[in-house]
């Protein structure tokens, strides 16, 4: 069952800087896709999760997009991160908590993602993001 339609939040200062700059940047590997903020958020979330970095949202929050724009695969990615975090399927009953976990991983991951795409070090951002993957599933 899909999420009910609710807003996904990020810190206002992150939305104004990291999210907007990645969105506008010609270096973004997500350029040209329809729902742009969603892609950045999901990438930030999984990178945060991958690096086991999670941080609570501080200061003013700002909505980034609505859950209605997520497809079912993306919804299950978000749910899976919460399930893996809690190691329990009961979390499926708590949509609010699932999204909170996603927001917190994205909150930490966005800084890494920003650095990979717009940070000072040279190189193709796509390759730099890929270099984070330790091993591919077989």
């Amino acid at each position: 069952m899909g999420f009910s339609t609710v807003k996904i939040y990020v810190e206002k200062k992150r939305r104004e800087k990291e999210y907007e700059e990645i969105k506008k940047s010609h270096r973004s590997p997500f350029k040209g896709k329809e729902i742009f903020h969603k892609d950045i958020f999901l990438n930030a979330m999984v990178i945060g999760y991958y690096k086991k970095l999670r941080s609570s949202l501080e200061g003013t929050r700002h909505d980034l997009f609505e859950t209605s724009v997520l497809n079912s695969e993306e919804e299950w990615l978000i749910k899976s991160i919460a399930i893996a975090e809690k190691e329990n399927l009961e979390i499926l009953l708590n949509e609010k908590e699932i999204l909170k976990i996603a927001e917190e991983y994205a909150n930490a991951g966005i800084l890494i993602l920003y650095d990979l795409i717009l940070g000072g070090s040279p190189g193709d951002p796509l390759k730099k993001i890929e270099s984070y993957v330790k091993k591919y599933p077989k």
Binding site: L89, E90, L92, L126, P137
Partner: protein, 666 residues
């Protein structure tokens, strides 16, 4: 609107007076003007442009150069002064306007301003041309206004164009040309002017906030510097565009000379180079498409790779739960809906009545409470189990798919390298021919090519710089607004600024909406025409122009086909795009195409020709075409729509092209 008549007098190859009366019948709205290379086909297109708009965009020469070379050479050599004249009669059901432009050449240097009085237009009133005797002709402003009502200069290139240059639209790095074309069709100059005026006004107002704080002045100063820098970059981009066009035309002139050179097999070598260059264009397109595919594949897959562990863990937990390991078995067999139904019907499936307050009913209500949460988990988990299994399967293929795409990409680069190498060899071969003229032409060609390459590269850099400066201006403006808000003393000024800002915002929104709507319409029409014209439409599924103005053609299975289109198919796509632009513009003007089949060789030429009778059926269409293009098969395909056929015959001794109307089916 249709062109009824074109009159030429001493214009380039056309010595003396010449008239072409085109077919204007709706059922036979196709005119064919046949002519070998160099006899004056392109100059007929130039003459139309010159008469109506005062320039010849396909030549891109300066006006002074135009004046020097526009008259017939023989006339100019024999007479002290030559009057050059081009007249065009245009109308819907009958000729309604007669436009005429004349210029007197030779003798004393020409006063350009003086020439303006020779631009004039006459309107048909009853059966007579009003003000047609040179005494009371309308002035230039009126001339331009009337021409603009029929077809504004900004969009004429979608009605009068050269088929050979169309492929350039879809060259790598030329998305800005597609964007420019779509924006031109939008006709939003008025909106742009309003936005410019309001932006200036807004800047003026912000400068008046002097008392607020010193930072306002500092930010204002910073913005001013950025605006100047932006203007400078915009001008540099314009200059680069002009240089690219000039160098392209110059290179084409030089290459044309090589194509006509009969010595040392130069013609054959140049033909091989033409073919190779077409191949390079095709590969570049393929590379570009592959790059996009790689990015798309990456962007849609990498999130699941990073989240693979979580997905796998979830899958395991659901699997264990389904099998009853560790956690209690999910009771999907006792669904809350089923229990609710029993309560609603007041009867159990065993037939026991379940009246309100009965102990049996209470038992079921308790059971409902206990299962409703586990039931939700069960429903969710059931759905997720199969969904996640698919995602995990996809993740396992991600690496191999990515490697496959990367390999294809590398192979394309290899192929490109080989062609580049052969092109270099050809160039060396031409430079090694013991004939100064050929060597010099080749050196000149290479220098133009270098210039084009350099300018395109520089242009991309400038675009990035411009984007950067625009972003900085936005940030500075936001800072400035914050500072101004702190100043509570100048309320009136603040309100004015708010009004300006809001108006700019609204106008920009309108502009974006208009451009987006037009882009969608052009996309839709391009697709319609492409499917209408293509001989194997069943191979294709869709044609898209995305938000970045990148065009893509999808095959039946949804894969990108743009890179693998043949030269003929690309020409069909380009013609479809042009037809879409002219249709969406809303102007019902005649269409004139020079060399509609471009430089396509072999079979596709006839296939395109078979489609051309369906091209812009509601418009008067005039094709300036070579006899190699207009083969008997092609002619047969077009015969039902053809109204008139003309042939341009060049007399070298007289330096004159005669226009001969061909009759009947001989």
């Amino acid at each position: 609107m249709k062109i009824y008549k074109i009159e030429l007098e001493n214009y380039r190859q056309y010595n003396g007076e010449h008239t072409i009366e085109l077919s204007t019948e709706d059922a036979h709205s196709l005119n064919i003007i046949l002519g070998a290379n160099g006899v004056g086909k392109t100059n007929l297109l130039n003459a139309i442009n010159w008469c109506l708009y005062g320039d010849e965009p396909s030549l891109e020469k300066t006006r002074l150069e135009l004046q020097q070379c526009i008259a017939n050479e023989k006339e100019l050599a024999e007479k002290e002064q030559v009057v050059v004249r081009v007249g065009i009669s245009i109308g819907d059901e009958q000729p309604e306007y007669h436009f005429e432009r004349t210029i007197c050449m030779g003798g004393n240097p020409i006063d350009f301003e003086e020439q303006r009085k020779y631009w004039r237009v006459a309107c048909l009133e009853g059966r007579n041309w009003r003000s047609y005797n040179g005494v009371d002709w309308k002035n230039m402003t009126q001339f331009n206004n009337i021409v603009s009502e029929i077809l504004p200069g900004g969009i004429r290139s979608f009605f009068f164009f050269d088929g050979e240059r169309l492929d350039d639209f879809f060259r790598k790095g030329m998305e800005h040309e597609v964007k420019k074309a779509i924006i031109k069709v939008c006709q939003i100059e008025l909106l742009d002017r309003c936005i410019d005026r309001l932006t200036i006004k807004s800047r003026e107002i912000t400068k008046r906030f002097t008392g607020a704080s010193s930072s306002v002045a500092d930010i204002n100063k910073g913005i001013e510097t950025l605006i100047q820098s932006k203007k400078g970059i915009e001008q540099e981009i314009k200059d680069l565009d002009r240089k690219i066009t000039e160098a392209t035309n110059n290179k084409e002139d030089v290459v044309d000379k090589l194509r006509k050179c009969g010595e040392y097999n130069v013609q054959e070598v140049q033909m091989e180079r033409d073919e190779l260059e077409r191949g390079v264009k095709g590969i570049d397109k393929k590379i570009e498409v592959k790059e996009r595919e790689i990015k798309r594949h990456f962007a849609s897959g990498i999130v699941f790779i990073f989240g693979f562990d979580a997905l796998e863990k979830t899958y395991e937990l659901i699997d264990q739960r389904k099998k009853g390991i560790k956690q209690p078995r999910i009771p999907p067999d006792i669904r809350d809906k089923f229990l609710r139904d029993l309560l609603a019907y007041h009867r159990c499936i065993c037939g026991t009545e379940l009246p309100e307050g009965s102990s049996q009913r209470e038992s079921i209500e308790k059971l409902l409470d206990s299962v409703k949460f586990t039931s939700k988990i069960s429903d969710d988990a059931d759905e997720g189990y199969y969904k996640i299994a698919n995602i995990l399967e996809g993740c396992k293929k991600f690496k191999s798919e990515r490697e496959k795409l990367e390999k294809e990409y590398r192979d394309m680069h290899e192929e490109r390298k080989k062609k580049d190498q052969r092109l270099k060899e050809i160039s060396e071969k031409l430079k090694g021919i013991p004939a100064d003229e050929i060597q010099n032409l080749e050196i000149l060609r290479n220098s133009f090519e270098d210039e084009i390459r350099m300018c395109i590269g520089e242009r991309s850099q400038k675009e990035l710089q411009l984007q950067n400066v625009e972003d900085k201006i936005k940030i500075k403006n936001a800072e400035l607004r914050k500072e101004i808000e702190k100043d509570k003393t100048q309320k009136k000024l603040r309100l004015k600024l708010e009004l300006c800002d809001k108006s700019i915002e609204v106008l920009n929104e309108i502009k974006e909406k208009v451009v987006e709507e037009v882009r969608e319409k052009v996309e839709q029409k391009t697709k319609e025409y492409f499917f209408d014209l293509h001989w194997k439409k069943e191979d294709f599924k869709d044609v898209n122009i995305n938000e970045n103005y990148e065009i893509s053609v999808l095959g039946q299975l949804g894969s990108e086909r743009l890179g693998s289109l043949s030269a003929g198919e690309r020409q069909i796509l380009a013609l479809s795009f042009m037809a879409a632009l002219s249709t969406v513009s809303g102007f019902k003007a005649p269409v004139v195409i020079d060399t509609p089949l471009g430089r396509i060789s072999g079979e596709p030429k006839e296939k395109i020709a078979q489609s051309l009778p369906n091209y812009l059926e509601d418009s008067q269409l005039t094709l300036l075409i070579t006899d190699q293009e207009y083969t008997p098969t092609v002619r047969n395909c077009m015969k039902d729509r053809v109204g008139k056929e003309f042939e341009l015959q060049y007399d070298e001794a007289e330096m004159n092209t005669e226009i001969v109307e061909l009759g009947g089916d001989e």
